[in-house]
């Protein structure tokens, strides 16, 4: 890995673009860490919405990859679902009871972005594919539409991670209309 970002184009990020990042199932976590590292190098604070691994483990993985933990905060939809109780830590993590609770997720996105206002912020959503466990594709589509609208209104860039070829063509075509750029990391 060079010091030059090679997944997300910095100019496109500056333009507050929204990306759909596709990865093979084996490389989703790896891509997540690479993107965080690139964003961190570019001076972004990343709000990671995690529906797969608890924030405590992700932060350990990021630290292991040389990412400053202060450059990342979380909306964690896993921990409470797993251990039942966890207190929010302002500026670090907001916990959601269940990845299917879109109302709480929407509120947490708004609050997290407010907490980071004044900084160069990017949202990383990991991952749309995991949401399929808890939500229908119609609800996922509505939620992504809501989040992308919010990001545009708040002038924030965003990256949505998904497993390539894992989404049906209908959902995929809807998602591509919500984002500015689709990046298939397996084609690079």
């Amino acid at each position: 890995m060079s010091g030059v970002p090679d997944i997300v184009n910095p100019e496109a990020l500056e333009e507050k673009r929204i990306f759909l990042l596709l990865s093979s199932p084996d490389h989703v976590r790896e891509r997540n860490i690479e993107v965080i590292r690139e964003l961190s190098m570019l001076g972004y604070h990343t709000v990671v919405i995690t529906t797969n691994f608890p924030y405590s483990i992700l932060i350990k993985l990021y630290r292991g990859a040389g990412v400053d933990p202060g450059a990342v905060s979380f909306i964690d939809a896993v921990t409470r679902n797993s251990i039942g109780h966890a207190e929010n830590i302002p500026g670090v993590v907001h916990f959601i009871n269940n990845p299917g609770n879109l109302t709480d997720l929407g509120i947490a996105v708004t609050e997290s972005l407010k907490e980071q206002s004044g900084r160069k912020v990017c949202i990383l959503y990991d991952s749309i594919s995991t949401m399929l466990i808890y939500l229908s594709s119609a609800n996922i589509s509505k939620f992504i539409h809501f989040v992308t609208n919010k990001l545009r209104l708040m002038d924030v860039s965003g990256i949505f991670l998904a497993v390539e070829k894992g989404l049906d063509p209908m959902l995929m075509s809807q998602l591509t209309t919500f984002v500015d750029t689709v990046i298939d990391t397996e084609e690079k």
Binding site: P25, D26, V28, R29, N52, F53, P54, S56, I57, K60, L61, G64, V78, T79, N81, S82, I83, S129, T130, L132, I133, Y134, S136, S137, V163, G166, L167, D168, P169, M170, L171
Partner: protein, 325 residues
């Protein structure tokens, strides 16, 4: 007059004198009406018996008077008589004036067309009540029959369509699509005299698009062929099939994808455990998460099965049975 011919005729024959008085009443007239020669001959009383309803009798009389104003006979006048037993029979009347020994008489020939009319009505009723669009085209392509289902599906009434052949331009307003369909039909007809299950999309008068599955047959002989076109509206079936395909795709995605994710998560957890990166509590948390994911996938599968079998009544029965196991 040859009474043998009159009596053996298969149609009612009555010879009428002045003021419609019956002079002769043949055997067929007796059989059809139930009134004997003795009862009929000698007066015009029989007409009151055959047309007991005064209003109807007057309307028949008015029609006859109207016809006889311009000529001395009438042709194919259809009336309904009441027989002695109270049955109604439809009689097709033709008359002719004859002169015999210097006297003028009218011969009324009545053909009992009750059976034919009932059969016509039955046929028309079948055509009209069929739940399929039915159109009959003459050799020039003009529409001769356009049933109620055709009216309901297309929005074009029988009056607008019959005798013309331009309804197809309205049903297929896109010239390119219309040409494509015409070529397809011509191609099929060059090999067979009919086509089966040809699907086309029509535009109805109200602007809806309907998918029609067409079947045709040729009827007639000696070069004068008519085409019967039967069109089944399969729009709902197509929509149900599309919904089913969509639902199956969603189901496949929401089962396959999560199961792979759970597998990948467990594989990664195992790798991190081997690398000594996780504390026992973290391992438990990760495993708990995957257990919960698996339980949710199982719930989703149950929900899908229920939805398919119980809720989605639009799905064809055969599919429902298949999906219901």
């Amino acid at each position: 007059m040859d009474t043998g011919i009159l009596d053996n005729a298969l149609v009612m024959i009555a010879v009428l004198g002045e003021k419609s008085r019956i002079i002769s009443w043949n055997h067929a007239a007796e059989t059809i009406t139930g009134y004997t020669r003795e009862e009929a001959v000698g007066s015009n009383r029989i007409w009151k018996l055959l047309y007991p309803d005064k209003d109807y009798r007057n309307s028949v009389t008015r029609q006859i008077v109207e016809i006889l104003r311009t000529r001395k006979y009438f042709e194919n006048l259809e009336t309904t008589i009441r027989t002695r037993t109270g049955e109604s029979r439809i009689i097709l009347w033709n008359t002719k004036e004859i002169e015999e020994k210097g006297q003028f008489h009218k011969i009324a020939v009545g053909m009992d067309v009750t059976g034919q009319r009932e059969s016509d009505a039955f046929r028309e009723s079948i055509i009209d009540n069929a739940h399929v669009l039915l159109a009959v085209l003459d050799p020039r392509g003009n529409i001769q029959v356009w049933n109620k289902a055709a009216e309901a599906i297309t929005g074009y009434s029988r009056e607008e369509v019959i005798g013309h052949r331009d309804v197809w331009k309205q049903l297929y307003p896109d010239a390119v699509y219309r040409r494509g369909i015409s070529q397809q039909i011509a191609g099929i007809l060059s090999a067979n005299n009919y086509f089966e299950n040809l699907e086309t999309t029509i535009l109805t008068r109200s602007g809806d698009r309907r998918i029609i599955s067409w079947n045709t047959r040729q009827i007639g002989a000696a070069g004068a062929y008519h085409e019967i076109a039967i069109g089944r509206d399969i729009t709902a079936q197509h929509m149900a099939e599309a919904a089913l395909v969509g639902y199956m795709a969603e189901m496949a995605m929401r089962i396959n994808q999560p199961v792979r994710i759970i597998g990948d998560n467990l594989r990664e957890t195992a790798r991190m455990v081997r690398d000594g990166k996780l504390e026992p509590e973290e391992i438990a948390m990760l495993l708990d998460g995957q257990v919960r994911n698996a339980a949710q996938v199982s719930e989703n599968v149950t929900e899908f099965q229920k939805a398919l079998v119980e809720k989605n009544r639009e799905i064809p029965e055969a599919y429902r049975k298949f999906l219901g196991g």
